[in-house]
C-alpha cells in the first residue's frame, strides 16, 4: 500500500486503482476451512446463537451502566466519550512517534534487564522463540492468552519442532484441546456449551468430567495445569500495553494464570505487536478504565500486572516486538487508525451479523469488525474477502469502539479493495452500471413498473405465493426464494417525480413572490422513495407545504450512489456522487432554496459523510469543498421537523387523536439515524410530544433490522434472522404501528410484515405526522 505522500500527483482514477493493492502478508494459517464452510457451520450452530444472543444484551447493559456510573460519580472527565478521546489521543501519539517510543521502550526495558527483539515477520518471531527454546533445551512451554500468537500460529510452529505449548487460559485450553481457534478475542469459547466443554475435558483427561457443573470443569484446569506450571521451561504471554516511559509490559488477566506464566518458569517471552505501545503509565490507566468495561462489561480485570525486566537473578525476560503487516498499516493514512485497537472485542459484541455466524466466519484469526479491517494486513486480502461481505454497515461498532476507530468505513475500504481485486459479481456490475446512468435507470424502472404484473398481480408487493412456481428454476428461483420471508416492493407506476408538478420548476420557485420569512426547501427524495414509495415523499411535501414552506423537487435528482459505495464499487459511486453534488448545487442556484431536506437518513449520511471521505481519499479537493458547502444546508427530515417546523412554530396545530382510540406506536431506530447521525430522542419527541401518541419501546430498538443494503441479497440467511428478531420485538410491544425514518429499513420491515402476516402497519415518520395534519 502506498503512503499519502506518494499519492500526491496521481489522478483519482489512478488512486482508485492504487488503493486496491492491500499489503501482502504471507498467508500461513494451516487447516483454516474455506469461508463458505465456516459460514455454513456458524449459521447452523444453534448453541452459539443462543449464547451470543444472550450475551449481547447483558453486555450492553453492564457496559453502559458502568460508564454511566463512573461519569455520575467522577464527572464528565470519566465519561466514555472523554475517556475514549484520551486513549485515542495517546494511541495516535504512539503511532506517530513510534520510532522514538520503541527506542525509549527498548532502552528502559534493556536497562531493567530484558532482551528486546524486533521481528519483521511472523516467521522471524516464531524462529526467535523456537531458537530460544532449542538453545536452552526447553521442551515444555506454558502460555497465557495472546492473540498475536494466534496471528503467527506460534503453537503450530513450536509443535512441529517437538516443543509442547500448553494454553493455560481456560477457554484457550479447551479450544486447543478441541483443535479449534478462538471465536472471540476475549471469550475464546463463547461458541461452546458446558456439555461440549465437559466432553472435551473428559476426552483430554481420560476421566469422567461433569457435563453440567461448570465449577467442576473449572477445577479441572487448576489440577491439570499445576504440573505444567512447575516444570515448564518457558512462559509465553502477550501484552495489553508496552509502556515506553519505563520499559514496562502491562498484562490484564482474570484467571491468575497470567501471573503464573510470567512468574514461575525461568524464561518469560512477551509477544506483542508494535501497536501495543503507549507513552506513559497515565495512558495505561486510561486504557484500563476502558478495556474491561468494553470487553466483558466488568469494571476491572482481576489482575493487571506490570513487568519491568526480570524480577530475579537467573530469570530472563524476552520481548518480541512484531511487525507482520503493521508498518504497512501505519503507512496507510486511513488504516493506521486501526493500530489504535486494544483488542476489547466490543465491536464483535455489538455486531448483529457476528451474533448470527460467530467469530470463525466473521473474521479470520482476528474476529469482529476489527478482524475484517486488519486481516488484509496480517493474512492477506484473500483471507478477508469472504468475512467482509458479512458486514451490514450498521455502524454500531463505531459507537462502542473505545479508541474511535472508524471501523465501518475501513470495512468499506476493504470491500472496495476486494471488489476491485476480484471484480463484482456480473449482476451487481450490471445493476450499478445502470444506476450510474440516470436516464437508462429511469427507463428501466418504468419498464419494470409496467412489466412487473406477473410478479405482483397489481399489488404493491412481489410475493412468494405469486412466485413459488418459479422456485425450481435457475436464476428466477433465487428471486422466488428471496421472497419467502420478505415480500419485495413493487415499482410505483407513477414515481414521485411524476407527481410533483410545478415543484419541479426550480426557477419559478425563485420568481414567485415570497412572503416574509418564507423558507424554500429543496427536497431530495432518494431513489427508493421516488420509485417504490412515492406516498412517503408526498407525505413529506404535504407537511412542508402545510407548514407554509415552498418545496422544490429537482427532477434531475437520482440515486446518491449509496448502493454502489456500499458494495465497494467506488468508480460508479464516484460518478453518482459527482452527479448528485452538481445537481444539488444547480438546484440551490436556480431555486434559492434555504435547505436541502431528505427523509432518507441513509441518503443524508451518504451526502454529508461518505462523499467527504470519498473525495478526501481521492484527493479531489475542489469536490471536497463543494460537498462541504452543500453539507451545511442538508438536514434529515426528522431533525428539520423538530428544529425548524416545530421550533419555529411553522407546523400547523395537529389533530389530536380521540381519547381511547389513539394508536400505540413502536419505533425502530434506523442504523444511519442513530449510529451515524446520532438521532435518538428526536423521533420519539415527535411521536410522544408533537403527536401525543403512546410510544412503546421495543427491545433492541437500535439494532439493525437486517436490511444492510446488498448484504440482504448476498447473505439472505442473516438478513432473515435479524428481521425476524426485529419484528418479534416490535410485536411484543403490542403496538400496531411500527415507525421509522429511513426508507431502506421500511422496505425490509414492510416486506417481512407482509410475508409473515404480522398485525403491524409500517410507516415512515412523515406518513404518521401527515395523518394528523388538520
Amino acid at each position: 500500500m502506498m503512503s499519502h505522500q506518494e499519492h500526491a500527483h496521481q489522478t483519482p482514477a489512478q488512486l482508485l486503482a492504487a488503493q486496491t493493492s492491500a499489503a501482502e502478508a504471507v498467508p500461513l494459517i494451516h487447516n483454516m476451512p474455506p469461508f463458505r464452510e465456516r459460514l455454513q457451520r456458524g449459521l447452523g450452530d444453534e448453541n452459539m446463537h443462543r449464547a451470543l444472543e444472550r450475551f449481547a444484551p447483558s453486555w450492553r447493559q453492564s457496559r453502559q451502566t458502568l460508564f454511566a456510573a463512573a461519569e455520575a460519580e467522577y464527572g464528565p472527565d470519566y465519561s466514555f466519550a472523554h475517556l475514549r478521546q484520551r486513549l485515542r489521543a495517546a494511541k495516535d501519539e504512539a503511532i506517530a512517534r513510534q520510532e522514538e517510543l520503541v527506542a525509549q521502550f527498548k532502552e528502559r526495558a534493556e536497562a531493567a534487564g530484558a532482551v528486546v527483539y524486533e521481528a519483521r515477520t511472523a516467521e522471524d518471531a516464531n524462529r526467535y522463540i523456537y531458537e530460544l527454546c532449542r538453545r536452552k533445551g526447553i521442551t515444555l512451554v506454558v502460555k497465557s492468552k495472546t492473540m498475536v500468537s494466534e496471528e503467527i500460529e506460534l503453537n503450530h510452529y513450536l509443535e512441529e519442532r517437538g516443543i509442547k505449548a500448553v494454553e493455560t487460559d481456560l477457554g484457550e485450553w479447551v479450544a486447543q484441546l478441541d483443535h479449534e481457534r478462538p471465536s472471540h478475542m476475549v471469550m475464546p469459547i463463547i461458541h461452546k456449551t458446558r456439555q461440549q466443554v465437559g466432553e472435551v475435558l473428559s476426552r483430554a483427561t481420560g476421566r469422567e468430567i461433569s457435563r453440567e457443573d461448570v465449577a467442576e470443569q473449572v477445577a479441572v484446569i487448576r489440577r491439570e495445569h499445576r504440573q505444567a506450571f512447575l516444570t515448564a521451561g518457558m512462559g509465553i504471554s502477550g501484552a495489553n500495553a508496552l509502556i515506553a516511559e519505563s520499559g514496562t509490559v502491562m498484562l490484564n488477566t482474570n484467571e491468575g494464570n497470567g501471573r503464573m506464566v510470567t512468574s514461575l518458569p525461568p524464561v518469560h517471552v512477551v509477544l506483542a505487536g508494535y501497536d501495543k505501545l503507549l507513552p506513559t503509565f497515565a495512558d495505561a490507566i486510561t486504557q484500563i478504565r476502558l478495556l474491561a468495561r468494553s470487553a466483558t462489561g466488568q469494571p476491572m480485570t482481576s489482575y493487571t500486572t506490570f513487568i519491568t525486566g526480570p524480577d530475579r537473578p537467573g530469570k530472563e525476560v524476552h520481548i518480541v516486538l512484531l511487525d507482520n503487516g503493521r508498518s504497512a498499516m501505519r503507512a496507510d493514512p486511513r488504516f493506521k487508525e486501526a493500530l489504535r485497537c486494544i483488542r476489547c472485542a466490543a465491536c464483535a459484541n455489538i455486531c448483529p451479523p457476528y451474533q448470527q455466524v460467530g467469530g470463525h466466519a466473521f473474521g479470520y484469526i482476528y474476529s469482529g469488525a476489527i478482524g475484517l479491517v486488519v486481516t488484509p494486513f496480517h493474512h492477506g486480502l484473500e483471507a478477508a474477502a469472504g468475512p467482509q461481505s458479512l458486514c451490514v454497515s450498521c455502524n454500531a461498532c463505531e459507537t462502542v469502539c473505545p479508541v474511535e476507530i472508524p471501523l465501518p468505513s475501513l470495512i468499506l475500504d476493504v470491500r472496495s479493495r476486494v471488489a476491485t481485486r476480484e471484480g463484482l459479481p456480473w449482476l451487481k456490475r450490471l445493476i450499478f452500471a445502470a444506476f450510474a446512468r440516470p436516464r437508462l435507470f429511469d427507463l428501466l424502472a418504468r419498464l419494470a413498473a409496467l412489466g412487473q404484473w406477473p410478479a405482483t398481480l397489481g399489488t404493491p408487493y412481489v410475493r412468494y405465493r405469486y412466485l413459488r412456481f418459479l422456485e425450481r428454476l435457475p436464476g428466477l428461483g433465487a428471486l422466488a426464494r428471496l421472497t419467502r420471508w420478505r415480500s419485495l416492493p413493487a415499482f410505483a407506476l407513477r414515481p414521485l417525480r411524476d407527481r410533483v408538478g410545478v415543484r419541479a420548476d426550480l426557477a419559478a420557485a425563485r420568481q414567485r413572490p415570497h412572503r416574509a420569512g418564507e423558507l424554500t426547501v429543496c427536497y431530495f427524495a432518494g431513489c427508493m422513495t421516488d420509485r417504490l414509495y412515492p406516498e412517503m415523499g408526498e407525505a413529506v411535501i404535504q407537511i412542508l407545504e402545510r407548514s407554509g414552506l415552498r418545496v422544490v423537487f429537482p427532477r434531475a435528482q437520482h440515486c446518491c450512489g449509496l448502493p454502489a459505495l456500499n458494495s465497494g464499487d467506488r468508480a460508479h459511486g464516484l460518478t453518482m456522487a459527482k452527479q448528485t453534488v452538481r445537481m444539488l448545487e444547480h438546484a440551490l442556484d436556480e431555486s434559492g432554496a434555504d435547505y436541502i431536506v431528505s427523509a432518507s437518513t441513509s441518503c443524508v449520511v451518504t451526502l454529508v459523510q461518505d462523499y467527504l471521505r470519498l473525495f478526501e481519499d481521492l484527493q479531489m479537493q475542489s469536490w471536497l469543498n463543494r460537498t462541504r458547502a452543500l453539507a451545511e444546508r442538508i438536514m434529515d427530515f426528522t431533525t428539520f421537523l423538530l428544529r425548524v417546523l416545530v421550533a419555529e412554530q411553522r407546523l400547523p396545530a395537529l389533530r389530536r387523536p380521540a381519547p381511547g382510540s389513539a394508536p400505540v406506536v413502536t419505533y425502530h431506530d434506523s442504523c444511519q439515524s442513530c449510529n451515524c447521525l446520532g438521532l435518538r430522542a428526536e423521533a420519539r419527541q415527535v411521536i410522544s410530544e408533537v403527536l401525543g401518541l403512546e410510544l412503546r419501546e421495543m427491545t433492541d430498538s437500535d439494532v439493525c433490522c437486517g436490511f444492510g443494503g446488498s448484504t440482504s441479497i448476498e447473505h439472505p440467511e442473516i438478513a432473515e434472522r435479524l428481521l425476524a428478531r426485529k419484528l418479534s420485538h416490535a410485536e411484543e410491544t403490542g403496538a400496531r404501528l411500527l415507525v421509522s425514518d429511513n426508507p431502506g429499513c421500511l422496505m425490509h420491515l414492510r416486506g417481512g410484515v407482509d410475508a409473515s402476516g404480522k398485525p403491524l402497519r409500517v410507516l415512515h415518520l412523515a406518513q404518521l405526522v401527515a395523518e394528523y395534519l388538520p
Binding site: 479447551v174 458446558r194 506450571f229 491468575g256 494464570n257 490507566i285 478504565r289 476491572m300 482481576s302
Partner: protein, 196 residues
C-alpha cells in the same frame, strides 16, 4: 472524602469484584480478623519471606502467633500451592476500583498471593486513595531504574475468576478463591495486653 467514606467505597467496589474488605483499627484487630477466619481452621498461614522485618507489618506476626497460628515462610511454589491461607501487604489501595497494588521482586513473596486459596492483604488506611490515577504516579516511582526498582507489580482486584464457560462466573481458577483486604487505620500493635 473522609477515610470512612473512602473505605466504604473501596469495600463496595471490592465486594462487587468478589472480594472482601474489612476495617481494623490496629494490628491487633487485624490479627483477630485473620485468626478467626474459616480459612485458618487448620491454623496454617503462609507469609512472605522476611515479613518480620517488613515495616510496619512485621509487628503483626507475634500477634498472629499469639492466636495460635502456625506461620510458614513461603519458599517454593510446591510448598505454597493450594495452602489454605496466605498473608501479604499492599503498597496502595484504590477506592475507585477496589484494587490493591502488590509490589514484590521476590518470587517467594509473590506466590503467597498467587497460589494460596485465601489471600489476606494488609494495607494501611493512609495508602487508601480515591482514584486509579494515583497508581500511575506510584508505578512511575516504583519502576524508576536503580536498586529499588520494582520489576513485578500487580494491581489485584478481587479473587481470580473466569466466565469462559457459558459466561458462568466462577471464582477461583489458577489464583486464590478468596481475597480478603484488611485496611488498618493505625498499623501499630495497639494495646498488647488486650490482644493476649
Amino acid at each position: 472524602m473522609n477515610s470512612s467514606a473512602l473505605f466504604a467505597q473501596f469495600q463496595r467496589r471490592l465486594s462487587a469484584a468478589g472480594g472482601v474488605a474489612q476495617w481494623a483499627e490496629d494490628l491487633a484487630q487485624a490479627a483477630g480478623i485473620i485468626a478467626t477466619h474459616p480459612a485458618l481452621a487448620e491454623q496454617r498461614l503462609i507469609i512472605p519471606p522476611a515479613f518480620a522485618s517488613c515495616q510496619p507489618w512485621g509487628a503483626i506476626l507475634p500477634l498472629l502467633r499469639r492466636h495460635g497460628l502456625h506461620l510458614e515462610e513461603a519458599a517454593t511454589p510446591e510448598q505454597v500451592a493450594d495452602a489454605p491461607a496466605g498473608l501479604s501487604s499492599a503498597v496502595l489501595a484504590i477506592a475507585e476500583t477496589g484494587s490493591v497494588v502488590l509490589a514484590d521482586n521476590s518470587l517467594a513473596a509473590r506466590i503467597v498471593g498467587m497460589l494460596t486459596l485465601t489471600h489476606f492483604v494488609l494495607v494501611s488506611a493512609e495508602q487508601l486513595v480515591p482514584l486509579l490515577d494515583e497508581a500511575a504516579t506510584l508505578l512511575q516511582t516504583l519502576t524508576r531504574p536503580g536498586p529499588q526498582q520494582q520489576h513485578y507489580i500487580s494491581l489485584v482486584t478481587g479473587p481470580s475468576r473466569t466466565a469462559d464457560i457459558e459466561r458462568t462466573l466462577t471464582i477461583g481458577v489458577q489464583g486464590p478463591r478468596a481475597l480478603h483486604v484488611i485496611v488498618v487505620a493505625t498499623p501499630s500493635t495497639g494495646d498488647l495486653s488486650s490482644a493476649s
